[in-house]
Symmetry: C2
Subunit: 348 residues, 2 copies
């Protein structure tokens, strides 16, 4: 009997339902049931109905592992993001995951904590699942990761960054440009003693690019900016406080501060208020990220809003297009430049 269920390794024990069970029951061959799931239009309506009925009756769930092995492409997409619990990447993740699952793809996830080594080990583990695509955050990777993504024959997407020279699919924005925008904005509002507060998380290279765009633009505009670097081991909120206290304790104090992210900015805001400053009169505060709390603070926080959700959705769309799941007129767009929006609130 070719389809005797010897059941060596199956989980349930007593006769797990497989494609063959369904096929026999429906009086068709296994491949027809397979087609019913994967290319239903190739199966005649009568058989389709019959198979549907049997599937429902038996509660058959296709074994995607076996399918993935046989076809060498599982319906799984792997993603590495710096951290899950932070408010920024979470939105990207949400948009990505939702868009994918709408098309029957599953999400395999790991976080790197801004460490290229952790990213590499996550990528290595993922590739063993032969995912249909791989999504990373930013363009900064270890040599090992670069090697793997160069050799892997699947769509690779880099999010949250934009570098025309690089090869992979990109969906993101230019962090340098964010710095430029912030500088122009603060300068345009008349501020002239301007500081930048760096992220306390080492490895956040993107924040450094915002700094570079910021300082370069201010220098062009004839203003020499401060750059404050908090202690590396502080939590962002504390680091922001530290920065504000240190900057405002000098003899010459800044009249505007651009913080590398909203957590830092919130710390700065609170420290300023506790010190009796009035914001933005004594010192304006600009953040980055538009975290959920930005409108809840008093004064509400002006900030640059990254297109987080949009990045996730668009990244998923490009992946699905590359896989041919989603239709596209022309070639899949490799470079996808989105923009941050300046949200002007009370703190500037």
């Amino acid at each position: 009997m070719p389809w005797t269920n010897t059941n060596r390794a199956s989980a349930g024990g007593a006769g797990r339902v497989t494609l063959n069970t369904v096929a026999r029951q429906a009086g068709v061959s296994a491949i027809t049931v397979s087609r019913y799931f994967n290319q239903p239009e190739q199966v005649s309506p009568e058989r389709r109905a019959r198979i549907a009925q049997v599937v429902a009756q038996l509660g058959y769930v296709p074994n995607l592992v076996a399918g993935g092995l046989a076809s060498a492409r599982g319906k799984i997409v792997a993603m590495v993001i710096p951290n899950i619990s932070g408010p920024i990447f979470a939105n990207t993740l949400q948009g990505f995951s939702d868009t994918l699952s709408r098309h029957g793809y599953q999400l395999l996830l790991a976080s790197s904590y801004f460490s290229v080594e952790q990213e590499e080990s996550a990528v290595r583990a993922f590739l063993g699942w032969s995912p249909a695509a791989l999504v990373l955050t930013s363009r900064f990777h270890s040599p090992g990761t670069e090697k793997m993504i160069a050799e892997a024959d699947i769509p690779i997407v880099e999010t949250w960054d934009y570098v025309p020279e690089r090869a992979p699919l990109q969906v993101g924005f230019s962090h340098y440009e964010v710095g430029v925008t912030a500088a122009r904005y603060l300068h345009g509002k008349g501020y002239r003693r301007i500081a930048f507060v760096q992220n306390s998380a080492v490895g956040d290279f993107s924040a450094l690019e915002r700094r570079d765009g910021f300082t370069a633009t201010l220098t062009e505009l004839g203003v020499q900016p401060w750059v404050f670097v908090p202690d590396a081991d502080r939590a962002p909120f504390d680091a922001g406080k530290q920065a504000m206290e240190a900057l405002m304790g000098q003899t010459v104090t800044p009249d505007a501060i651009f913080f590398a992210n909203d957590n830092l900015a919130a710390g700065g805001l609170l420290a300023g208020q506790r010190a009796g400053l009035s914001i933005p009169q004594d010192c304006a505060v600009l953040g980055f990220g538009d975290y959920p709390f930005a409108p809840m603070l008093l004064p509400s926080l002006s900030t640059l809003q990254p297109p987080a959700l949009e990045i996730g959705v668009l990244a998923a769309t490009r992946v699905l297009q590359s896989l041919g799941v989603l239709a596209t007129d022309e070639e899949v767009k490799r470079l996808n430049l989105l923009h941050c929006q300046l949200i002007e609130r009370e703190s500037t």
Copy 2:
């Protein structure tokens, strides 16, 4: 030639590296290489060294899909959470994912948006990957999901809830008890005109349990609480504002409000301040969740802090123990009751 690489389906095309490639190169049989990865202690040190060398040289990455199929248990764990971008579950997710990946397990993720139907479809899709374990949030599922988890022969964990009567592994806390704690606390502080503001997200059954514990306890204490239900379509922050405006616009106003979560509470706080109330003198505000912004608000928000990260870590630990990956003296503990901590800040 038994191991001729015909390469029908492999991705790379020209001679993808498989177990057999490594085995031949190292002069051993395939199963020895397999053991090198899965039970290295069964392989002699000399062969281990030889295999390690070949693996490094060829850049071999084990195909986990094939391994999963052959052994009927992939090193993958599936998790469904209500939403990824919210601040609460994100911490659980982070703790879970990190603990798992430390032991070589991968995380398959989907979100349900508090919809039992979406949860069901996610679970169905997951089971096709024959995950080693399945983790859900709360005890409220559709009948279909209940059926699947009853039949699936893998560890099932329910997080963020605690119901001794239920069968699956549980790692969470009692939402009812949270309501009790909040009620006792506010009553103990001397407040007597007390309101509860419900979550605007339908489907968040846990919030309703907090309400029940809260109202029952107050009734016991001889206080009749208000329950305010915001419009269902409002974002939480707005719903909180609406609640505060409505409650404080009455002839008899509450002197304390327990909001179903911190987003609502933040909205309430802001609406109160805009209306010229002084908090907590005119009206105390208590939240739930200890979202990152709670200490950043003015006044800072008193709230109940759920053990989010701890839940994630402990859930992963119990999963790994159930799978025999992590040692445990006795049987794996089925009920794991954790507790919320009351964080007293300025708003009460």
